[in-house]
Every structure is written in C-alpha cells, then in structure tokens.
C-alpha cells in the first residue's frame, strides 16, 4: 500500500491550499501584531490598573482602525467570536429588539446557515420569514424583495457575497430599495464574511445598517469577528453578563485576537485592488484550463458579479466527496457541495436554489484561491485534477 494512504498526511508533502473561502491562513504580519498581547501580561480590559488599561487601549485602537476602514463611528463596532456569532447577534438581536414594530423578516434563500438557522429560531418565536429567490446566476430577485416589504417588516438581511459560488449581490441597490420603501423602515444587515478583503466595505456607500465581518476569512486569527451596527438601530444582546461591548456582547475580550482582526482588515484593505486583479487573472486561467482539459464540466453560478477567487464547477460523473478526498491525497485542498460531504446528506442549498440538477450538485467542487496561491500552484493542480477526475470516471457508473 502506498504510504501516502496513511490517515496521517505526510507533512513533508507539498500542499496546495485552495479552500480560502473556508478559512485563510494567517498573515505573518498579523501574528506579529498579536504576539505582544499573547506573550506579555495583558490585563482584563475592564480592570483599572496599568495592565488593564494597556489591554483596553489595544482594543479601542483596533476598534478605531476598523471603524475608519468601514466608515463607521467607533461605538458602532461590536467584537464577537466570528462570523456566525455576528450573524446570530444581528438577526436575533435586531429582530427581538424591534418586534414591537412588527415580526416580519426578509432574507435571501442562499444565506449562510448562521443566518438561516437564526431565522428558523425566530420562526419558532412567532416571527414570519420571507425567503427571496435567486436566479440561475445566484443573484436575488430585486422585484420580489421590493414587493415583499410590508408594514411589519423590521429586518432585511442579504449576504454581500456567497460563500459557495462567490456571487455578489447589489448591496447598495438593495439598500436603496429598502430606504425608498414607504411601507416600513426595516434595518438592513449584510453578511460580508466572504466580501471583506475583496469588495469595498464602506458602510455609507453600501447603505447598510449592520455588517458582519469575520477575521478567519481575511488572513486573521480564527474565533474573532465584529458586527457593525448603526447607533440608530435598536439591538439587544443574545448572551448575558458584564458591561463589555456596550452590554451588547458581554464577556472578557480576546485582546490579541481583536488586535489581529484590525491588523488583518487593514492589510486586506490595502492589498485589495491589486490582489483582486491578480486573483481574477489567475482564477480565469485556472477555469479556462479546467474547461479545456476536462470534458463535461459546468460552472455553477454566473461568472459576472463574482468574487475574483472563486471557482465552483460540477464535473459530470465525478462525485464531489470522492474528488475532494483524492485531491487531498495528492496534496490539493478544496471543498464540495455534495450531499455525501454534509452531515444531513442533502446537497448544498445554494446549488439547489440556483437550479443545479441534483446529479450535478453531487458532482460540485469549489476551488477558492488566496493571497498565497501562485501560478505554479494552479499549473500543478490542473495536472493533478485531470488525473483524479480520470481515475474516478474510470470507476464511475455514470458515463
């Protein structure tokens, strides 16, 4: 048996990481910014003494840095444990705090589960949720959104860019529709976990009232994120404790992670435009090679209005989980929307919503390029991918 088949992956093997939408590796500069807060005695930011003030100061500096980048006031940034918690806080916290005005919420049908499962929870609390359809390209129906707003609508949440197919929603257009509505004045939240670092995130230009940002997708540490929430919006906490984060998110702050998030966002924002051009060129090259070298490949989601690093394709007759494991064994990390890779054994809801046939949803594979992806990585991946596809197709009953 080949020694590579060992469950423990050979660490000397060259790895090509093409799953940057799942999470990104940490930037060395981010780690450098964090280290002093991990190594030295850092007090509790709520304490009065020197060590406490040092910690508090680091948090507030980071908060200011983030606020400046997104065009918000400093008191409008709430630190959380990441994208999921920011989304949960936005949906549950805004809905519950505003339910006196109505109990109707509008979200897109391709939201992340952090949003969809929060909505499910609210449904059990008597809230009514409208799910806006998307077209085959993965863009939401603006007409349906417009006609769905009613006097009881208190919250609209539409993700900025999709995690699976990378499609970008017209957030400022959506904001305008919401603001122009004469029937009600719902809060507009957008999950920008995938968008930050790739797309402009100035909250004033976007027209959002709340925005989710995650550190783990922008080359920062895991387990930290933030929620921008306009000081004009009512929100209530979903966890309970001390006075931290204006009572909205109690708990002793993770100082080093907060410093890391601010540093990561700042680096990502500085690199954004040149990096987008580089990634899009590399992504388009990769996709053209896939389409040239492998037959019966279909692209999932439209290629316009798409994150520059995202490829999502279905390779006929090649089940996604099998392909991911075979690629992994050859040193390439990517992901799939196949049912066989999910715990509930249902294929990706995003692929279903954009009308991907079931048998092709099982054959989906996602490659997401990142800051450390080179053309050499892509060239070697194309060769490996073609070999793995051939191997699976040879034993596939679907020809």
């Amino acid at each position: 048996m080949n020694s590579r088949i060992d469950a423990k992956i050979d660490i000397t093997m060259k790895r090509t990481y093409l799953d940057n939408a799942a999470t990104t590796p940490m930037d060395a500069k981010v780690l450098g910014a964090m280290l002093p807060y991990l190594k030295e005695t850092v007090g509790n930011p709520s304490s009065l003494h020197y060590e406490g003030r040092l910690a508090k100061n680091a948090i507030e500096k980071s908060r200011t840095k983030i606020a400046e980048i997104i065009g918000a006031k400093t008191n409008e940034i709430i630190f959380t444990s990441g994208g999921t918690e920011s989304d949960n806080l936005a949906i549950l916290g805004i809905a519950r705090a505003n339910q006196g005005k109505g109990k109707h919420i509008i979200v897109s049908c391709i939201e992340h589960r952090a949003i969809l499962n929060s909505c499910k929870k609210l449904e059990s609390e008597g809230f009514e949720i409208t799910y806006i359809d998307v077209d085959n390209n993965g863009l939401i129906s603006l007409e349906q959104l417009k006609s769905s707003i009613k006097p009881t609508t208190i919250l609209v949440s539409v993700m900025y860019a999709n995690n699976e197919i990378g499609t970008i929603q017209p957030i400022s257009q959506i904001a305008k529709i919401i603001k122009d509505s004469i029937v009600s004045t719902p809060v507009f939240h957008s999950d920008a976990c995938q968008a930050a670092g790739s797309l402009p995130i100035n909250i004033n230009k976007l027209g959002v009232d709340a925005l989710t940002i995650s550190s783990s997708k922008i080359y920062g540490p895991k387990g930290i994120g933030c929620l921008y929430i306009s000081d004009k919006c009512r929100i209530e906490p979903i966890t309970f404790g001390g006075d931290q984060e204006r009572h909205i998110r109690p708990g002793t702050e993770n100082v080093a992670a907060i410093v890391g998030l601010a540093e990561a966002l700042s680096i990502a924002e500085n690199k954004r435009q040149p990096e987008n051009l580089r990634l899009q060129k590399l992504r388009d090259y990769f996709l053209s090679k896939i389409l040239k070298n492998i037959n019966d490949v279909s692209v999932n989601g439209g290629m316009d209005n798409r994150l520059p690093n995202n490829i999502n394709v279905s390779i006929k007759g090649v089940e996604g989980e099998s392909l991911v494991l075979l690629l992994d064994n050859e040193g390439v990390a990517c992901s799939t929307g196949s049912a066989c890779s999910s715990t509930d054994l249902n294929p990706s809801h995003v692929l279903m919503q954009i009308g991907t046939p079931l048998e092709l949803a099982h054959c989906s594979v996602r490659f997401t390029l990142g800051r450390y992806t080179s053309k050499k990585d892509i060239d070697s991946t194309i060769t490996i991918l073609a070999e793995c596809v051939k191997k699976i197709r040879n034993m596939s009953s679907i020809k």
Binding site: I5, A7, E321, L326, S338, S396, S397
Partner: protein, 146 residues
C-alpha cells in the same frame, strides 16, 4: 471497537473519519471493470439511481462446476465509502475460492462494513449498496442459468 476506531470518534461519540480499510480500498480499489464491452458476464446487477447520488453495476462470472463466484467486477458513482464498500464486496465475493451463490445472496451490509473497519455513522445507510448489487447479479445469473 478497536483502538483505531476509537480515534475516529469525535467528542460526541460520532464516528466521523474514514478508517484505514476504507481509505485503502478507496485509493486502490479492487476489481473495477473499466470497460464491460468485451466482458462476458454470467450475471449483471444494478442498484440505486444517479438522481439519488449513488448507482452501482456489478458483473459476476460463476464457476459452473463449483457454483461459486470466480470473478466479481463493479463500477459505481458515489462517495469514498460507496467506492470502498463496492471494492470490499468484490474481494469478499471472490476470496477463498469464491463465495457460493446462496452466501452471496445473503451478504449483509454489516459484514462489508465490519471488514472495512467501520464507516462514519452518517454514511452507513446510504453508501453500502454492494450487497444489493451482488444479490441482483446472482439473481440475474440464476434466471439465465435455468
């Protein structure tokens, strides 16, 4: 439960990772029939449907004298556990001089899974199709042998 299987369990007790047996058969599958055009099978069995994500073909050759399976070939569409269980089934059907047809018809998914060293819990019911495809191939053989 052996030591290796213990390591495959997460804190909530769920088996989530593929065993060495599954990985071995997935990365180096046995008895795949790449092209059936020139393969004179004595029996052919199909199970599943592509719409459900899993479909499998099994071809068998039977030793007329001994009434045992002498060759068992397959092709399948599915995840690693579907491929590994098909491969393991084909090994079980042909080892030690070949399975007799009655034993082959009564092969249980649990027997295949045990030989693979276990499967992730959520995979157990959906991905083991080999025994059904083998049973259908044997039935197909018996129908034509009459």
């Amino acid at each position: 439960m052996n030591k290796e299987n213990n390591q495959n369990h997460s804190a909530d007790g769920e088996n989530w990772i593929y065993s060495e047996g599954v990985r071995g058969h997935f990365f180096s599958p046995k008895n795949v029939l790449y092209d059936e055009a020139d393969y004179a099978a004595d029996g052919v069995g199909t199970v599943g449907s592509p719409e459900c994500g899993d479909v499998m073909y099994v071809w068998i050759k039977v030793d007329k004298k001994t009434g045992r399976i002498k060759e068992c070939k397959w092709r399948t569409f599915g995840c690693a556990s579907a491929i590994a269980s098909a491969s393991m089934m084909s090994v079980m059907a042909t080892e030690n001089g070949g399975m007799d047809l009655k034993t082959a018809q009564n092969l249980k998914p649990q027997q295949i899974v045990e030989r693979l060293g276990g499967l992730p819990d959520r995979k157990f019911h959906c991905s083991v199709l080999g025994h059904k495809a083998l049973r259908n191939a044997v039935l197909d053989y018996l129908k034509h042998a009459k």
